[in-house]
Amino acid sequence: MESRNTQLAVGLFVIIGILALLFLGLKAANTNVLTNGETYKLFAKFDNIGGLKERSPVKVGGVVVGRVSKISLVGDYYEPLVEMTISKEYNEFSDTTSVSILTSGLLGEQYIGLNPGFIDDTVEMLEDGDYIYDTKSALVLEDLIGQFLFGQGND
């Protein structure tokens, strides 16, 4: 009988462990909806991606719609190419959509802001694997200071 109580206690112990793991996994970690939902990919070339990283969020008006899945250099001039994985839920972006690299807050992480373009009969919708050509690069502080000083000198 004692052996049965021991087994019961150990069983409860293991269940408590699994509950703790579930709590940590579901409540504390990001249950990334995008990894199990349907997604599609969009590409964008930038001159400079600043501090953008893989897994940085892609936002429309502050709402996360996807993540940066890959950053690579392409072409003869080594231009940074950013691959974005966007949730299928948001698949109605027109090809006049523009992307820019923004910073959350003064010192925060960098993310990609998508600005949906206008829609009329002449524009087409972006599909899986399409490129967005209207891009604005990240602001680099040194470049800004350099431009400012250069502008001052010309006056």
Binding site: S3, A9, A28
Partner: protein
């Protein structure tokens, strides 16, 4: 002068021989034909005394460490107006470092010392020799279930520690100090990741479980079978295991997050 050199040589030889003996003990205890029907009840018994009985100290210390983290983190973060970052601060420090490490230290004190003393006393009262006389391998019968019980229990205890600690941080941060409830969890969720944080924490605690249980069993098995010998072995278990955990933690952290 020569005596000093000789003493150094003796210390080196002793430590190498000790490491070799510990390795052979573990190998002989673990390698071999598994006998599930015989070893299952023994494992259950040890899981109970090593794991279940450690649950109380783990839950209580986890709760208090989480609460202290919440309190200290808040007083610093509020200066920068960044008290929303309390959630990820508490969760990341618990999952990556404090959960596995403090659990291993408490485990070495609570369960490791008990294992050493138990096996040491078995040796002192000739129980291990009696087992051998009866044709039962004491390594398979006594050491092996205790090792597996420690190996399986510690990750569970570390997970419980982290979960309770995060709840403690939530109690102090949100319920007492008034950090926004939604921001606490959502900022935490956007910063904590399954593979990077939770899985690495579990890997850490598996390594610590291996090392702590191994040290405890080896010290008990090799102790001088006298009352002084057992007390020395028990002290040595706690000291060696704690140092090993802290040293290994640095190496593992450097490998995982460096």
């Amino acid at each position: 002068m020569l005596n000093r050199v000789a003493a150094l040589g003796k210390a080196t030889l002793d430590s190498v021989a000790g490491a070799g003996a510990a390795f052979f003990m573990l190998m002989r205890a673990l390698v071999g034909k598994p006998q599930l029907r015989k070893s299952w009840p023994l494992l259950m018994q040890q899981m109970y005394s090593v794991g279940v009985l450690s649950l109380l100290i783990i839950v209580v210390s986890g709760l208090f460490i989480g609460m202290v983290l919440g309190l200290q983190g808040y007083t610093i973060l509020v200066d920068f107006g960044a008290e929303q970052s309390l959630g990820p601060m508490v969760a990341l420090s618990l999952l990556r470092e404090l959960g596995p490490v403090v659990t291993a230290l408490l485990f070495a004190g609570r369960a490791g010392s008990a294992l050493t003393a138990e096996i040491g006393l078995m040796k002192a009262t000739e129980q291990l020799s009696s087992l051998e006389m009866m044709g039962v391998d004491p390594l398979r019968r006594v050491i092996s279930p205790r090792f597996w019980a420690g190996f399986y229990s510690m990750p569970i205890l570390a997970l419980v520690f982290s979960a309770v600690g995060i709840y403690g941080g939530y109690l102090v941060g949100v319920r007492w100090l008034g950090v926004d409830d939604g921001a606490f969890w959502s900022v935490m969720q956007s910063n904590v990741e399954w593979g990077q944080d939770i899985l690495n924490g579990v890997i850490k605690s598996l390594v610590f479980a291996f090392v702590v249980t191994w040290i405890a069993l080896h010290k008990g098995y090799q102790c001088t079978p006298t009352s002084v010998g057992i007390s020395r072995a028990t002290t040595s278990t706690v000291v060696t295991a704690s140092l090993a955990v802290l040293g290994l933690d640095f190496v593992l952290t450097a490998l995982m997050f460096g």
